[in-house]
Symmetry: C2
Subunit: 199 residues, 2 copies
């Protein structure tokens, strides 16, 4: 017999399925929801369904969008000449928080991984090439992760896009700001040395 | 402009209102929900509404319940002679996880706190007395927190119930199991000394 009444036990189970939520957090959140107003519970409940029902993929860049074009692709103030290629829509969030990038994006939906059977056809690479073929783009920044898969994807894109007259660049690898060399692995230190810039 | 499409931004905001969920966790969970199946989102969404709609208070002990009587009050195998008084339904969960207690419960819904205007009338004390007046109960364990308010409540209940011929007991205060005297405050150490038992 569970220690909770059925609806509560079920909500706890549902919350535990979410990333980073363990038994204790799930209990605390479920009790919170139970004590919240019916209105608050409804808002949360509806918001959950809405992200499934009202979101789609941007027809141009594959970002998450609530319209045919995402907020970046439909914004005329964004620089149309520079496209930042990312693996996942939430990478865009990270880049936007810097407020330093004003170009457009292209979401691949993954990185090349022969071992996991992910080749160029599984990624949104053809639509990237088609997009570039239309002419405006001058630079493609490859912002995939500095992992084997991310690197392989970057090299692949570079070979594919450079012949089209593009400038293809890669985000810098190095020591994270505020961190310490002591905590950095040897490959990162090597990349940091290799990527050194004059001061 | 938010970095998220509206339905996603709204879900993140909703998750951030839950206890222990910050911006980063809310984003991670919202992306997870967005990627989950429509079915999974529906189950979560429905579970949230169900804890509001399908749960009620046990007519006897005020525990959360999906029926008129909670799972403990309707279980004939529970010892009807001993009632553990707690402040909050989730205290019951903590006690049940020990699997050492087989009596019944009574949820007060708070602790006495003159400063916050919580007197005996604001708590489910009358229903506890009525319940005891019916005759079966022999011992009342007061499991309120070892705080000023919890202690005041315990003393109040003791004065109220002892004249009815009850044995009124209080949970032990002392050093938490697995902890260290070094981390215990002086009052806890004093309580641990005071509550010492022969070995």
């Amino acid at each position: 017999m569970s220690d909770f009444a059925e609806p509560l036990a079920r909500l706890i189970t549902e919350f535990k399925r979410l990333p980073g939520i363990g038994q204790k957090s799930a209990q605390r959140i479920a009790f919170h929801v139970m004590r919240a107003s019916r209105d608050d519970a409804e808002h949360l409940s509806q918001a959950i369904l809405d992200v499934k029902d009202k979101l789609t993929m941007c027809a141009v860049c594959n970002n998450i969008s609530d319209a045919e074009l995402c907020q970046y692709c439909r914004d005329p103030r964004r620089d149309q000449k520079i496209v930042c290629v990312v693996v996942d829509p939430n990478n865009i969030v990270g880049i936007e928080t810097t407020r330093q990038f004003n170009g457009l994006y292209h979401v691949l939906g993954g990185a090349l991984s022969p071992l996991r059977g992910i080749g160029p056809e599984q990624l949104k690479i053809k639509s990237l090439v088609d997009r570039i073929a239309k002419g405006h783009v001058e630079e493609v920044i490859v912002a995939t992760n500095p992992t084997t898969e991310g690197e392989a994807t970057a090299v692949y894109l570079s070979k594919l896009l450079k012949p089209l007259g593009m400038r293809v660049t890669r985000i810098a690898m190095g020591i994270p700001v505020g961190s310490d060399l002591e905590f950095a692995d040897e490959v990162t230190i090597w990349k940091a040395l290799e990527g050194r810039r004059e001061i």
